[in-house]
Symmetry: C2
Subunit: 348 residues, 2 copies
């Protein structure tokens, strides 16, 4: 059961801090056998540990003290300069120094990206690491990337997102030959921005990629594609829009069900299980984290509102990433397409 | 009841052609008193007319024959060059020639935009007309623009979208001082692409605009903003994503409700009314059409899947637009901010 992976978990991250991160991380450690490093203010972590059942405390873990806490309103650049002893910086340095293999944080996502890039460092040849999110749908989950690390992208950036996303989807989502599409405003070749069109041209001739062309906004949820590539501006808007719309539809339906006399109330009561199943199906906590792809080590960024189960699943995903050797698959995909990337980079 | 507005309706447009467009347009004519010009193949229109109840035929209308039909797969530029006698071109020429005040079409939206721009013509000083769509939400409807007419935009284009959208939202959605936001990836000033940041700077000092700053993807459905400005690439993806996600959520819920034995089925039966109300609340047919803003005349583009009620509402919206003098309000907004626009245009 025990394995040699060491996972650095930012215990102070997220809206609920150690109270959800510590139990979530330890439960994951119990399941996967990796060693867990709980990074943060020791006394705060210890306080939570004291409340946990004994069996969780038999997990292989240790506390790495980090004295500073990051505020959600601080600028990533300020955090990088001024918060050298924050849990996120300390966790990233553990990876940088080879004392951990992966970092998992539900903290300030801008800080996670900045610390990932400047402390862990980028893969050689990758200018832009990107955040990939797993979108649950009514059929299979989709990987959408970038969802916010890069506001403006060049064609070769999108190209590398596709290469890295394909490797991730293969190992972590288990798709044999993940289909990869570029998000645009029409399926036909030649639709979209200049950047999209040039990325299309690169992907058309890429090695080891199952490129299916342009996909549209609706394809994220009802189309037939596994990996969807876009710049971080579009991806972030798509992600937040989806959250907002799903919440809004639930809310309307709830009001409608409760606001119309007795019969609908009975209906709502009886349909409750169906709603629960739906909620489970589209629950982000199922996947737990957005991987930050393109770093020399691995890094997983969780939703700020993560509950204990989301943290647990995020840590398990980080462990699977290491066990499957996804980093090497990602490097291989990049390597095989190095010439194309260089060509595109030089022609910008 | 009768008024002096003349509305040219593309009878051949949409997935269902004259069979839904003709009754929808005539019902609107009956309600608002505008004169309806049914533009398309005369025999096909007559065939539908023969099936309609007599009272609809007492509406003030006439048929304007147009011999060509546009195929959904044709390129807008080809339609413009080769389909001079298509219903959409003939309808736009009626507006250009002053024989109608507005055109309403559920046809090829690319062709509607192209014919609008090159036949009806742009307002002087407006480089980029844009498509605005009304998004129903759980509270008040929102206006989102551009949703696909302009793939790449400059800051002064976004600026003018805001000016025109604000005028439209005031008259047609009835908001006293519509709040206007730019779609970005963070609420703080300085978040987003360079284009977004420059448009932000313009809107901050604009005349007669209730600018509220950046809004995020989730704000389209759950935020507190009336008009949301973005480029046509982002807007189109947001629009289609919303359609896809809403469909997908309904579908999952339906399956869950029907797939779990007798009790949930009873629940579903009882909750039916609630679902119906929800569907009505988020039904695009409620608003019928996306106005194409920035033309010398007015043009309304309907969803290809429009039913008769959507067409009716689109025609009624076109009539309201004329009755309220929205075009003049739009011109006034543009005029008041002319200097700012010129300044921004010259500094690109």
């Amino acid at each position: 059961m025990k394995n040699s992976n060491i996972l650095a978990v930012d215990a102070m991250g997220g809206d609920f801090g150690p109270s959800v991160v510590v139990p979530g991380a330890l439960k994951a450690g119990q399941k996967c056998g990796a060693k867990i490093l709980l990074v943060g203010i020791e006394s705060a972590i210890q306080e939570v540990l004291d409340t946990l059942p004994d069996d969780l405390k038999t997990v292989d873990f240790s506390i790495v003290h980090a004295s500073q806490v990051v505020d959600m309103h601080e600028k990533p650049s300020d955090i990088l300069r001024q918060k050298k002893d924050s849990s996120i910086q300390v966790a990233c340095r553990l990876v940088k120094d080879g004392k951990a293999h992966s970092v998992i944080s539900a903290g300030h996502s801008g800080a996670c990206v900045a610390c990932g890039m400047f402390i862990i460092g980028r893969i050689s040849g990758v200018e832009r690491p990107c955040l990939a999110t797993i979108m649950p749908t009514k059929t299979t989950p989709r990987l959408v990337l970038d969802v916010g690390a890069n506001v403006e992208c060049k064609p070769h950036h999108l190209f590398q997102f596709a290469l890295m996303g394909s490797a991730f989807a293969k190992d972590i989502l288990g798709y044999e030959e993940p289909s990869v599409g570029i998000l645009s405003i029409g399926e036909e070749e030649g639709k979209g921005t200049c950047t999209v069109k040039e990325a299309y041209d690169l992907l058309k001739v890429a090695h080891n990629i199952n490129f299916v062309g342009n996909v549209e906004g609706r394809d994220i949820f009802i189309g037939n594609v596994d990996v969807i590539v876009c710049d971080g501006f579009v991806g972030n808007i798509a992600l937040k829009l989806s959250e907002g719309l799903a919440l809004s539809l639930f809310d309307i339906l709830k009001k409608e069900l409760l606001g119309n006399g007795l019969l609908p109330k009975i209906g709502a009561f009886l349909a409750k299980k169906a709603f629960k199943n739906l909620a489970k199906k589209i629950d982000y906590a199922e996947y737990g984290a957005a991987p930050l792809l393109g770093l020399q080590g691995s890094s997983f960024v969780c939703h700020g509102a993560s509950n204990s189960r989301a943290i647990e699943n995020a840590v398990l995903m980080a462990n699977t990433y290491l066990e499957k050797g996804t980093h090497n698959r990602l490097l291989a995909n990049l390597k095989e397409n190095e010439e194309l990337t260089s060509y595109a980079r030089s022609s910008v």
